[in-house]
Subunit: 160 residues, 2 copies
Amino acid sequence: VSRTRFDMMNCAAAQALNRIGDWWTLLIVREAFYGATTFTEFQRPLGIAKNILTDRLVALVETGIFNRVQAKPGSSRYRYELTEMGRDLLPILIGLMQWGDRWIFGKGREPLVLLEAETREPIAKLTVQNKDGRALAADKIGFEPGPGATAETVARLTSA
Amino acid sequence: VSRTRFDMMNCAAAQALNRIGDWWTLLIVREAFYGATTFTEFQRPLGIAKNILTDRLVALVETGIFNRVQAKPGSSRYRYELTEMGRDLLPILIGLMQWGDRWIFGKGREPLVLLEAETREPIAKLTVQNKDGRALAADKIGFEPGPGATAETVARLTSA
């Protein structure tokens, strides 16, 4: 995959994918949601090579998805905490989990159940909704050029 | 990235990422949402090499994300149509777009506006919700082993 080309696309999904970098990012974010904060807590469950994890964490801090915080004053040990930008990846991560549960594992074979912490009730299936919260099927969604559309995007969407 | 390791994880997000394969898949699905059905309609806007697109479309048909349909009886030309499994990637794709709009392009610079087709009103921001449709912040979401959890998953979530 050409990273450069994705980076140049006038498309927020392409740019998001480019910024996320690779699949590991989303699994590192997954571990953070499960409560991981230290290098070891990320490394062990992922089974990721230490040099790859080191590279990814540096990149994720640069990107703004994690903050790196000293574990204690004067310590050379660090904790990695999701920023608001990082926490905002949650719908994407949960969308992936629900898609995998439905289409790969199948009903009754889900590895994990996501719950509302307070009630212990399973969360809802992620749906695309109109402004009033009504679910929209794929064929009920339209699109138009946004304020940041290039001339090329405008031409494409007009001809679509 | 080791595809094999993702494939072996007892995690629906990892398995979903493994099945999706690479970033191109999501942009090919994006084009399908915009109305592309023929090889040329996918190839031109993506600027993807023809041999790569051919490989991806074969894989996406095998995976069950697209159906390949003869354009006309007896024709050697084909249309590619999203299956239900493919359309079910829409929340993930829209999650990526909204994340990119918010964190990369920024407010007022979005390349594209997603609308409810009927009312032409912008769609809502994708949110994780409880069963009654109330939005849940990341720290209000819990998890427990599902029916398909391995012993390792159970041990991890119990210690988390």
